[in-house]
């Protein structure tokens, strides 16, 4: 069996209270006693049981991370960033892939709370915000990453999706494109809506009419992007460029283009969003809007940890500026 605080106390011939004090550096303990206890602890390779100490009201040093799907590179990269910053601060992270399913979100949150995690980071879509509202008002540490729910008083870190959509579209516009299609994730997701708004704004600034038929809504897999792009290519008048609302969809679009014999970027320009590792792997490499994932991960963790360690403060939304990464999937339109 693992040694307990009692074993240490017995062998060091002190009380468990004393041992507890040296573990936590509290109270006044003589150097001599402290050394004695420390030695025994080392000898026994004693490690305090986190569960027991959490039961007395201390932290579990564990945070929950809700993501749509950890096998999606964008979210995997977020997870890594969260894990890294959490690690620096002494926290482990429990991952939960929700598939953007409210039922799973609810189940996971309930489970995590049964396990007394110190806080939860939400990177997943949540339809029914009530699920979050209740625990947020309850004062349970909660933070959002890459999701926006302005109606909720919750710390949030995200990229300015509007600007992102704007930058992507403007880039295309500047190249001379006028017929720019959009393949976007479900518009129930706030980030998708904002990216589309950015797109519209860019068009408007250029005095170009918004054409409903150029907008395709779908899920977020490569296959989805491909399917919608194919639909786009059915039209008599083809778009000369596509703004895809994430890299996965952009890749689907590129694959569809290839299947139709359209060359990227000669016949069709494609812009993605996220700048995941995938964007560097396609051929041509994908022009895309970069989210500062590492920075975002660090920030949410910091915000969350502040909630658990500091005085209540006003919740904040940190909006980071996305950056357009120009690679090889965009070019001037043909003739």
């Amino acid at each position: 069996m693992k040694p307990t605080i009692y074993d240490v106390a017995r062998i060091a011939s002190v009380s468990i209270a004393t041992v507890s004090k040296v573990i936590n550096g509290k109270g006044n303990i003589s150097d001599k006693t402290r050394q004695k206890v420390l030695n025994v602890m080392k000898e026994l390779q004693y490690q305090p049981n986190v569960l027991a100490s959490a039961l007395t009201g201390k932290r579990t040093y564990t945070i929950g991370l809700l993501l749509p799907d950890i096998s999606n590179p964008f979210f995997a990269e977020i997870a890594r960033a969260v894990e890294d910053r959490g690690g620096e601060l002494g926290f482990n992270v429990m991952i939960c892939s929700t598939d953007n399913n409210d039922a799973k979100v609810e189940k996971y949150i309930s489970l995590l709370r049964q396990k007394s995690v110190d806080g939860i980071i939400i990177g997943t879509g949540v339809q029914d915000q009530e699920i979050l509202a209740s625990i947020a008002t309850e004062g349970f540490p909660l933070a959002l990453i890459a999701r926006d729910m302005p109606s909720l008083a919750v710390d949030t870190v995200l990229v300015d999706d509007f600007v992102g959509g704007y930058l992507a579209t403007k880039h295309l516009l500047d190249l001379g494109h006028r017929r720019i299609a959009v393949v976007t994730e479900n518009l129930k997701v706030s980030s998708s809506r904002d990216r589309l708004r950015g797109y519209r704004q860019a068009l408007e600034d250029k005095g170009i009419c918004y054409d409903e038929t150029l907008i395709k809504t779908t899920d977020f897999s490569i296959a989805d992007g491909k399917k919608k792009a194919l639909e786009l290519f059915e039209a008599e008048l083809l778009p000369t460029a596509v703004f895809a609302c994430n890299d996965l969809l952009a890749i689907g679009v590129m694959q569809a283009a290839k299947e139709r014999g359209l060359r990227v970027p000669a016949d069709l320009s494609v812009v993605g969003f996220d700048n995941t590792i995938l964007a560097t792997i396609t051929d041509p490499m994908l022009t895309t809007v970069a989210q500062p994932i590492e920075h975002m991960g660090k920030q949410v963790v910091d915000l969350l940890v502040q909630q658990m360690t500091q005085e209540p403060r006003t919740k904040q939304r940190v909006i980071l500026r996305p950056e357009l990464i120009i690679r090889n999937s965009t070019n001037v339109p043909k003739a």
Copy 2:
């Protein structure tokens, strides 16, 4: 505050012992009492505190998962598979990215044990097997995925790397390639060694001499693969094909080829390993050796859970057969 078992007991005017019994379906409780307690539980939205119950010797229903890097698609896919099966069985998973660093491995294992996880799955490289040996003999539930440490009595699930290397090489050989280079991860990793053995065997079966200069060892990023491929391309006599020991390296090789003006597969055939999502994204799509990731994830979890729930049994190594997925990065050599 969250309600406790005491709240339930008080409101239902029974003892906490009775409540505990209805929670766990133990003992004989009259239907009437049971209903009463159940109702109060529902009313209060009572959820037992997992920490407290774990303190009394029950499970935490949490498992640890050690991976080199969760942002690497191969491992992210493993994580998802583990999470899914874990979820079905009632377990949450704590992810730990180790960067294949023994110090981190040790730190994480210690941390996880302090938190009383019910078991740990290791998918990360571990140089000093002593780290694992001690806790394994101690009887702590442990299982390996995609890693082999035959000297250790630990449940293990992996693909037959030897066969994988053999299949990849044979495919190239069958196409007519004779000068087949290898870009592999550090040979301290067992899987890399075995894949290389498979390669040698395939050559031998065909009566082809093993040429040391065609073998390049490196780390596992795209950049590493590219760098080594570039070195390969310095030679007077170019290889006509490259077997890369994972998809990331294969992609690096493809990028190097492109940079050198070599067309894939016309001038150079490339085979990868893992069949991650990346393999479907490259252009041309990558021929690669598929690991049945989902199946592997399910198996390790099952093996691990067996250890915690069943009688001690002989440890087993489950060796799955990899499958060659032929896509478009391989072809007959030029003239």
